[in-house]
Symmetry: C2
Subunit: 132 residues, 2 copies
């Protein structure tokens, strides 16, 4: 009887260890995905481009829980140079964002306005944010 | 009596209008100051640089109410290329930040580690942020 109990405890402990190891291997701690984009826009179409971009950003943060921040900036004195700072909850959220109707619509609408596009993948060093 | 009341109401209304116009002219709506920085760090000193940078970021967001965000990133597969995204409440907050002991200490400590530094002033197009 004692042997049987010990065997059962051993089996349970092994299963527990296996499960915890599996989790540790399979599910790394969530870290946001942060990407930068550098765009040059045709100056003649800048107003149209900015309107399309603003609509896409508003839709994304409203409809997608995994889109944490989409900051669009223009370089001072070079208004047709746009810089994007994009933060997604995780890689799956970023990939899902690319498949949304509003993102696809933005890409189609603006493809003839964008003269160049550089995408930069990054890794966080430290994300310092003032607590409200 | 009625004339006196009307005159007083008129004077109060004028004062109110003047005050509101003055405020609108003198105090424009606050817009955050957002700056980008692109740094190349001596690879041999990268660990020391990142330690100094993390300390500076932690001190800034803890001690300065006008420092809203200091995001430090490294470019994927190019760990010695650092990108900064900096958001300050306003221009005065940014200028005050440059005078703090922790920022000055960071600049002194890291001046021999930084191979190149490009500062980019920007203007917001749209700052999209998911509401928690």
């Amino acid at each position: 009887m004692i042997v049987k109990q010990l065997l059962m405890m051993g089996a349970a402990l092994s299963a527990c260890c296996f499960f915890m190891t599996y989790r540790a291997l399979a599910i790394p701690p969530q870290e946001p995905v942060i990407r930068l984009a550098e765009l040059q826009i045709d100056p003649a179409q800048l107003d149209d481009y900015k309107a399309a971009l603003k609509e896409e950003i508003a839709d994304s943060v409203r409809l997608e829980p995994g889109v944490l921040k989409l900051y669009a900036l223009s370089v001072k004195n070079h208004p047709n140079q746009i810089r994007m700072f994009e933060m997604y909850r995780d890689q799956a959220s970023y990939l899902a964002h690319l498949e949304t109707p509003h993102f696809k619509n933005y890409k189609t609408t603006t493809q003839h306005m964008v003269e160049s596009l550089t995408l930069i993948e990054t890794e966080p060093v430290l994300l310092g944010s003032r607590q409200p």
